[in-house]
Symmetry: C2
Subunit: 434 residues, 2 copies
């Protein structure tokens, strides 16, 4: 029965070799949650792991099956991407972001995890002295691990205190050192679910051009700012992007969340034409290929996995094609996350919790895949542990690079009334003893 | 019409930015071959690119389709591998290599390309001073690029002059420096199609244990030494492997060639239990996970792509399961390469070419996926260029790390009488002018 005792929690942390819960990986937290569920003999509410939680888009599955039947399994995929995929992705970017990226500047990767890993590998090599990645925090913890594994210097700051015009001076502080080769953020933000405003994107873009910083914009949750309806191709409103304000951009578009396709590990990297075509002396020497895009595709991606699964490329090509044709409204399909986010936000408010990241400019943030919550003056670590004891598993904000005290919640795996009711009951029990 | 002039060849090399044909990637050679085909207005014989050239195993395709229909596309694959896959792979290794690897020591990767890339990443970190990879040459050129990109020191030697007992002193020369963290080779050899004898594998295994070197045995062409029939599970003869002679081994088993499944990018890494469980101080500090296997799966593989395509794991699980049950004789299916290799070897002999790598111990090598050929005292570079002019595309031996002069030929894409006849005609024309 939840709540379980502090002793059992601490003993479970020891058994899983987790000395510090705030630096544990999401996967370790997930294992811990399952262990505590066994101890309690009662179901844990899993708000820590962001599985899609919706069925995969059926047209993608059908396209994969057709491709498999037609014999693609025996043939190495073209390392530069299936022509149908790069063409459809180019149209997809035009239709929903109103941005022009030529097909040859687009390449499939084994999820956006491979995209950021391989891009960072190249970005740390491009110019002498440009050896540092700047991350906007909070951020996706795995990307911090990537930087560490690659031996690339990592700096970052919590955007909490630097929204709007305040962003400019803060960014310039980093950029003017000359050490920043690239800046990485996800928009909507993982995990704060904030969206950068156009004012902020303009600042980022302008400074990226001025200081030669390449912006990696991770669009894992593309279009899921449900305050507006971005679901219609070639029609405003278009999804905001830094690509409107600089040529120094690379967009990461993963099928995992927008098409609920995480199992097949497929994404595309979209380089601006300027990024692709730019020549570097060091790449000429190292790869015998001076252009960034060539060095990336044939020098780095080829080395890392010889391309992405053939049938999955067909699946993504089809889903993007259908979205561009207006026959697959992926934004509408994902709006279910907004509904769940709204319900959970209400349960939290009813039980004395507050949203941590609350505003974009002067607007309240959207309801969506993630939200962040604090409770009185409890630290993130304490709150995470106390919620775990009460049968609610989250991750702590400090583990995401945030300086705020609180926890991150993903709404993806809670879908039915029974679980919402159980969550409400658990939060109420928590409130009664805190 | 072939032959084309030397001027057109040199001009094409310039247009493709290939300053030195011996250091070009296989993919660049492939592009060059297509360009020359356009110039000649006649079909090129492609002996450079090792596409499987057989249809994918149908049971794998059916299993993928079933998995897709059951909904795996929306779910992140378990980073430690689908339980059914690791179980079947463990049995596969027992059935065909007669080696015991527990399922938890097996993990799927995005092809063996991802396996070697990610393993080298970890192997260069495991112990201070052990900073060098030793490769047996000739070898797979992409693996040399991987070492370069990872910044791991690479040493190697051509096994041509160090077969049998001579291997011991040569290996010890490298191992006793203490700098070698790992040694990598493919068996059967890519591209010489030699097979290490049990005498040689015993030497490698014994010295690996003595000097704490971890052996990466790439079994991309597992079982394709067609001089014996390895196609029957749990029955001798078993495929020779270094795993019989040391606990310091990691096996790479890719579906690409043995199941003609290159398109789906799926393989398994099989660590010996001793390799998996070994604890390293540096991994404890860096990953907060002291064990090699944990650091590999949760620290490195997770960072690189969050796992391998879900449906492809089901496909591989099924193919391995069927092979273990004796219902899928993959060795027999691949023996078609032996037939083609034999035909091409005869055409080469008829036209004055010689095999470069000819013997394993006192036996002639098998016919198979690759063969190596020389012509009089022509250099590898000259021979490759002259064959290209005559409509036959190969890669040069020096590009594979071999010190011998000659070219590497893959038999995978030449299958019908028409192409064998055309190859014969081209080689004859070559002979008449050289």
């Amino acid at each position: 029965m939840f709540p379980i005792s502090k002793e059992i929690l601490e003993e479970s942390l020891r058994r899983l070799d987790i000395p510090d819960i705030t630096s544990a990986t999401i996967r370790q937290i997930n294992s811990l949650a399952w262990m505590l569920q066994e101890e309690a003999g009662e179901e844990m509410i899993h708000l820590e792991l962001g599985n899609p939680g919706l069925p995969a888009e059926q047209v993608g599955i059908e396209a994969e099956i057709e491709a498999l039947r037609s014999g693609v399994a025996s043939k190495y995929p073209n390392i530069a991407g299936l022509p149908e995929l790069t063409k459809n992705a180019s149209e997809f970017v035009k239709a929903f972001l109103d941005v022009d990226v030529p097909p040859h500047c687009i390449v499939p990767t084994v999820g956006s995890m491979q995209a950021s890993f391989t891009l960072l590998q190249l970005l740390k090599m491009r110019l002498p002295g440009k050896d540092t990645l700047l991350m906007l925090f909070p951020g996706f913890p795995a990307q911090r691990h990537q930087a560490k594994l690659l031996g690339i210097n990592l700096e970052g700051f919590d955007i909490y205190n630097y929204r709007g015009k305040k962003l400019e001076a803060k960014l310039e502080e980093y950029f003017k050192t000359g050490r920043i080769t690239a800046m990485l953020y996800s928009n909507p933000n993982n995990p704060a679910w904030t969206n950068l405003t156009d004012e902020e994107l303009e600042i980022i873009g302008r400074l990226a051009t001025k200081y030669d910083v390449i912006i990696l914009e991770d669009l894992a949750y593309m279009g899921m700012d449900f305050r507006q309806d971005f679901g219609h191709p070639y029609e405003p409103p278009y999804i905001s992007t830094v690509a409107k304000y600089t040529d120094n951009y690379i967009l990461l578009i993963s099928a995992s969340k927008i098409f609920s396709y995480a199992g097949q590990r497929i994404a595309v990297v979209c380089m601006s034409k300027e990024v692709y075509e730019r020549r570097y002396d060091y790449f000429e020497k190292f790869f015998e290929m001076p252009k960034f895009g060539d060095a990336y595709i044939y020098g780095v991606l080829y080395c890392c996995s010889s391309g992405a699964t053939h049938s999955a490329q067909h699946g993504l090509a089809k889903m993007m094609g259908e979205a561009v044709a207006g026959r697959l409204n992926f934004v509408d399909h994902c709006s279910e996350y907004g509904r769940r986010g709204g319900l959970i936000k209400q349960l939290l408010a009813d039980n004395g919790f507050e949203l941590v990241y609350k505003y974009d400019g002067d607007r309240e943030i959207a309801d969506g895949f993630f939200l962040t919550a604090s409770y009185g003056d409890m630290s993130g670590e304490e709150l995470q542990k106390e919620l775990l004891r009460h049968g609610v598993s989250t991750i702590s904000l400090p583990s995401t690079g945030s300086r705020q005290q609180g926890v991150r919640i993903t709404v993806s795996t809670v879908s039915d009334k029974e679980h919402f009711d159980l969550l409400g009951k658990r939060l109420k029990e928590f409130k009664q003893t805190h």
